[in-house]
Subunit: 209 residues, 4 copies
Amino acid sequence: MRARGSYKKSEVSRQQVLEAAVRALSERGYARTSVSDIASAAGMSKGAVHYHFESKDELIEQVLQHCADVMRERVRDAWDAPGEPHERILRALSEMRATRKDAGPELRVLADLMAQGLHEPKLQLTLRTMFEANRQQVAEGIVESLPQLGIRTKIPPRVIPRLLLGALDGLALHDFFDPPPPEDDEEVMRALEVIVFSLFEVERDPSRS
Amino acid sequence: MRARGSYKKSEVSRQQVLEAAVRALSERGYARTSVSDIASAAGMSKGAVHYHFESKDELIEQVLQHCADVMRERVRDAWDAPGEPHERILRALSEMRATRKDAGPELRVLADLMAQGLHEPKLQLTLRTMFEANRQQVAEGIVESLPQLGIRTKIPPRVIPRLLLGALDGLALHDFFDPPPPEDDEEVMRALEVIVFSLFEVERDPSRS
Amino acid sequence: MRARGSYKKSEVSRQQVLEAAVRALSERGYARTSVSDIASAAGMSKGAVHYHFESKDELIEQVLQHCADVMRERVRDAWDAPGEPHERILRALSEMRATRKDAGPELRVLADLMAQGLHEPKLQLTLRTMFEANRQQVAEGIVESLPQLGIRTKIPPRVIPRLLLGALDGLALHDFFDPPPPEDDEEVMRALEVIVFSLFEVERDPSRS
Amino acid sequence: MRARGSYKKSEVSRQQVLEAAVRALSERGYARTSVSDIASAAGMSKGAVHYHFESKDELIEQVLQHCADVMRERVRDAWDAPGEPHERILRALSEMRATRKDAGPELRVLADLMAQGLHEPKLQLTLRTMFEANRQQVAEGIVESLPQLGIRTKIPPRVIPRLLLGALDGLALHDFFDPPPPEDDEEVMRALEVIVFSLFEVERDPSRS
DNA sequence: TATGAATGAGCCTTCATTCAT
DNA sequence: AATGAATGAAGGCTCATTCAT
């Protein structure tokens, strides 16, 4: 077994390339980002990039993977903060929306590569996996805890993640191109809350009565 | 007077190019579609394409415009069918979802060019305009008729279009990469209905009592 | 014989094209002037230009011819003004220099097409003819009248035109790229006068004594 | 320490491109010489040319620079040979004329790019610099040594370089398109000598009396 | 492990030319 | 006599990829 901390120097460079790629792609977009751009963003030569990644396509796929991972971690953080169920759900909601609004580099790259994925089966697989994982996260975060919180829903719980994530992503997309005035934005958030709770029916909980 | 349909020959060719571009772009995506591809999809020479459109960028923008128009018309049709208010809303909802599910060429191109728009201000403007027009459509279709139907909402009506379209687009995006099993799909539709009506409060209507 | 003034309309258009070509070429230069440029400078379609001139090369040659003609007329004017021999020579000298300094469109085109002529035999012929005609003009203007003016030269009179025109053209070329300060410019003119008269020996003319 | 001659490989290739460009341009002229032509004259791919020079324009400018340098060196050689002042001036004169008559590749390219310079400011700057340097050369070669040779001139010495170079260049231009018969050529040379010495006044030099 | 040099395919664009009308 | 439409051949340039070092 390799000694801890003794990652090959190569592994470090690899990460540098990936991060540089995210930067470059988030700025110029897939269609206008060349290996050269990525290389110089990473402070290396084109040759070096090709030493780490067999082809541009392979690099792109790993970038997608990387972004998906980063985003998942970010979202996990949004869920991990403690609190009352009611609060927690609202806060998670609001944080997930916020995550989408600030449009960090990874999110932009993700959006861009999704479009690529429309036409490239390889990316599709990665994307499907990512979506599944995201839903799974929401499921763990909310759905699985509903019963033990004494909450029942008017709709089958298993579709909640899809509904929630889909709606949030779509709203974020629209916001990007056509940002609402701040007061509308707040109304949308409030509406989301109304919606979410309209789906819930809190059982009379004897232990609380 | 010029006979109907006898637009200048050039205008016909222009449309052919636009339609060919939609076809080509929907198949291969912006990044992998060359002017050459479009030209041969249109059965013309590259030169001819450049005779009608000054540059690839200009062509792309007109394609975006074209797709936006086509989609708007399609959506309008979804709204135009007659019926009872209740029915009509449900049906519009379901048709809008369907429009997004069949992922026709225009929709794919739209999605692709949205990603381009992340990095190209010119497209952003067109996209913003498109989004506004779409919301306007929904506003006309639903929102403006709510009062006269004796319906009040728990949320400000003006945010309904953004909420509805955002959610539908987001769900469609997820569906594309990670299609739900049919039974989930139905549940999602049902959930949407629940949600929509949970936002409404039908006033006691004396004429019906 | 054709009635006066009834030139074919075509002939008028031809001239328009030629003049437009001079304008266009003088502004952008041979290498960057397209048939399109010329056509729109002439307010016509490309097709029309090709109706009048079989090919771009043919057009260019006729332009060269045209410019040569215009220049010859301009130079003739410089010679035609009357006066004392001594005056006349000085004035002609100064006018020829001025003609070259103002760098009118025709002159610029001429210079440009000379460079083309370095590589295109067809133009060379036209240019040779032009140069010969120019020398002939000078010969008529000065050389042939020397004896009757009682002037003898220290050099064979037949080389005077070549010497004079060559020097003037060369000076003009240098001036274009690297214009002298005005005081140097005057000195150059004065030097030219010194030179010219240093080549002359006025015979003692008994009829004037 | 790097062995002499072991410039980076890139530098060698760069020079090859420059020399190939001179060859190609001197044969076909600016307007008809493509990067492809230059590349194959250099035995490389188009890509390689663009690896060394960012654009055709940049390459052309460097070619101009290169030619100007080569010509200056050639002229310097003409000045450097030793001899009596009188001889030296005559010989320099004759060699400068000869340099212009053989119309080597560099000279042709220079002439061609001068025409380009009529319309391209960037080249103008380079050309101006070149002209200044050439005049400086003549100034050093002749003008500055006049006083110490006991020679005074009837015209301000500072305009001599401009006059001399201008005249030589102009004569060469005419000669190219309309070469004189050999006997006229000799007469022209003789005339130049007459002229030059007519501008000089040799002071009575006591050491020679 | 990484680089600099080079390649070659392909891209967008320009343009002289042709031709039906 | 003139035009608008279209073509096809380059042209300049970019870029993923390869390879010797």
